[in-house]
């Protein structure tokens, strides 16, 4: 151990001991925007006396940069599975102490099993919500251009002859290389998590062949574009598309938005609660997580954010319109076709980003 590290360790020891005295009063919660109903946090403070400092972010990349720089000061964060996977490798998360979580048994064991692909034994995470990437579309515009066909296949964005018919009304894809390439690989019948150069080339060839028909690659603006009728097909997150649907209904301009999970299969993602290893209030963090695991809390999250929760105790309290929406809670048959996206090696990430820039800019 070098002198600098010794000093750091001493400083840490001091801060840990002061933290132990000051514990139980606050918890710093860093979550995605529009992802929790405010009354959950209010009720938590009422019941436990712990003040919640609530802060939001809108990208995994932003969260990761903060956590990797160290000393973020957050107690609970909500990374997506593939990000958590790599962050666990970097050792930035504390192990979850299940003895402090009385409601852990509420969780759906089938989902826990799937999530453990990201984090062996789910030692560092507790599931928060999950969802899919699929096709958000403008029902009338598509009918006008493609006729009365079911919108359930990725053909409409990956087959040049079909995509060309939709070029004028606008196709957008998520600006997320790992996720879109995984979906493209799966569409081609290849392993979606393949790190083979040849496979990546095939996916790139597919995307380049339809690139001219895409308006843009965009991860947030498509919500309002769909709602306003500026875009007719978007490959996006289910919750975002449902949000666009809600907005379009509110606006009452006759824009009708649909969401479908493609029959070829698509990516399923999990947002996971985790505690950074340098979190100053670990006990309070466990209390907050346990509170979120309660059936009522989880149901309220699902009803508010229109995402599925992997919480069995919540199901009876989830609104019928949410629970019966196949875009939020798909059938077991559809579920079998979903695949998670694993974290990639740094070398492959570099190749992927470079290929993605090539697809976007035509270079």
């Amino acid at each position: 151990m070098n002198p600098k590290k010794l000093g750091l360790a001493a400083a840490l020891a001091v801060s840990v001991s002061t933290a132990a005295i000051a514990e139980e009063q606050v918890v710093n919660f860093y979550n995605w925007s529009d992802y929790i109903s405010p009354e959950i946090l209010e009720n938590f403070t009422k019941e436990t006396g712990i003040k919640v400092n609530y802060d939001v972010y809108d990208s995994n990349e932003g969260l990761e940069a903060k956590l990797m720089a160290g000393g973020s000061g957050y107690d609970v964060v909500v990374p997506t599975g593939s990000f958590l996977e790599r962050q666990v490798q970097a050792g930035i998360y504390a192990e979850i102490d299940r003895s402090q979580l009385s409601n852990y048994d509420n969780l759906d064991s089938v989902m826990l099993e799937k999530i453990s692909r990201h984090d062996a034994g789910n030692k560092h995470n507790v599931p928060y919500a999950w969802g899919t990437i699929g096709l958000g579309y403008n029902v009338d515009m598509l009918k006008e251009r493609l006729g009365d066909i079911p919108v359930d296949s990725l053909d409409i964005i990956f087959k040049p002859e079909i995509a060309a018919k939709l070029k004028d009304c606008g196709i957008t894809l998520l600006d997320s290389p790992a996720e879109v390439v995984a979906i493209a690989l799966n569409y081609l019948g290849l392993d979606p998590n393949s790190e083979k150069k040849a496979d990546l080339k095939k996916a790139s060839k597919l995307l380049k062949s339809v690139r001219d028909n895409y308006r843009k690659f965009d991860s947030s603006g498509y919500i309002s574009d769909l709602a306003n009728g500026d875009t007719c097909v978007a490959l996006g997150y289910n919750g975002d598309v449902l949000q666009a649907q809600g907005r379009a209904e509110e606006a009452g301009q006759g824009v009708n938005i649909g969401y479908s999970i493609p029959k070829e299969g698509t990516l399923v993602w999990f947002d996971l609660l985790a505690i950074p290893s340098d979190a100053p209030h670990k006990q309070a963090a466990h209390k907050l997580i346990d509170y979120i695991l309660k059936g009522e809390s989880a149901a309220s999250i699902s009803n508010f954010a229109y995402y599925a929760v992997a919480n069995k105790a919540a199901e009876p309290m989830v609104l019928e319109e949410v629970l019966n929406n196949p875009g939020i809670y798909p059938s077991d048959e559809v579920k079998a076709n979903l695949f998670p996206q694993n974290a990639h090696a740094a070398k492959f990430d570099r190749l992927l980003t470079r290929t993605w820039s090539g697809i976007k800019t035509g270079r």
């Binding site: 940069a65 970097a90 990430d349 980003t353 800019t361």
Partner: protein, 318 residues
Amino acid sequence: MSTPTGSAWVDGSGSRLTKFNFIRRVNWGRLSVVSVPTLWLAIFFFIPFLVVFKISLSESAIAVPPYTSLLEWDLEESYLNLKLNLGNYLYLFEDTFYIDAYLSSIKIAGISTVFTLLIAFPIAYMIARSKPSARGLLLALVILPFWTSFLLRVYAWMGFLKKNGLINEFLLGAGIIDQPLIMLQTDFAVYIGIVYTYLPFMVLPLYSALEKMDMTLLEAAEDLGSRPATSFFLITVPMAMPGIIAGCMLVFIPAVGEFVIPSLLGGSDTLMIGRVLWDEFFLNRDWPMASAVAIVMLIVLVLPIMLIRNSQGKEEAI
């Protein structure tokens, strides 16, 4: 990177002007006057630069922070190992993608700077020639947009430029076009965004140069039979040159590293180095590589500008 370089240059040129006026009259103030900007530059430019430079010579690692340290103590052998990784810089030249991105950024920034100058010059000229009592108000109008958030103003442009936005509605309504123009998510929108955002940075130095101009010079030229256009290019433009150069630098330098405007107004195929930097940092999680991209951008920008300033300094000495 755009902000620290930008502000450093603002301060550099500003301090230089005050320094010149000041020293002639009051010699004792020299040290204190020079030390403030020097300290500022050291704290807000030079030290961050060294930190970034240091990171650019390391290797990325899955750790906190996500790069290796350059110095390693070997206590048993009492060695201090210094490990420098130049691979990041070499990689920049292996793949033409980075050079394309630099060139494309310089092109977008250059064209935007020219248009900013063309629009700002008449504005600055008008303000400098208006009644002294009106100048304060006119300058305030130039600065007024800064009172609203920059992001909000860029979003406002999205409202103007989009397919069913104000401009298209107006042109369609007036019967000038019958198909909405696609303006948003094009390079055209990026140019508009940059010119609009940076206009005050061009107007202000131009105004301060033009305001000091001696009007009798133009009268003398006219008396001697010079046409207005000739007088403009032979007298007004050279006299405004310090303002033109300062204004162009204030616009060009931050525009090269601009990230927000191209990502909001530009298309997915608008290639700028700010975006490449973002990808390196956030998608590849390669802080050393991102640092190398930033350092090279700084060198590409700073070297030619220092050469210009040097030759200017020599002219002033003559």
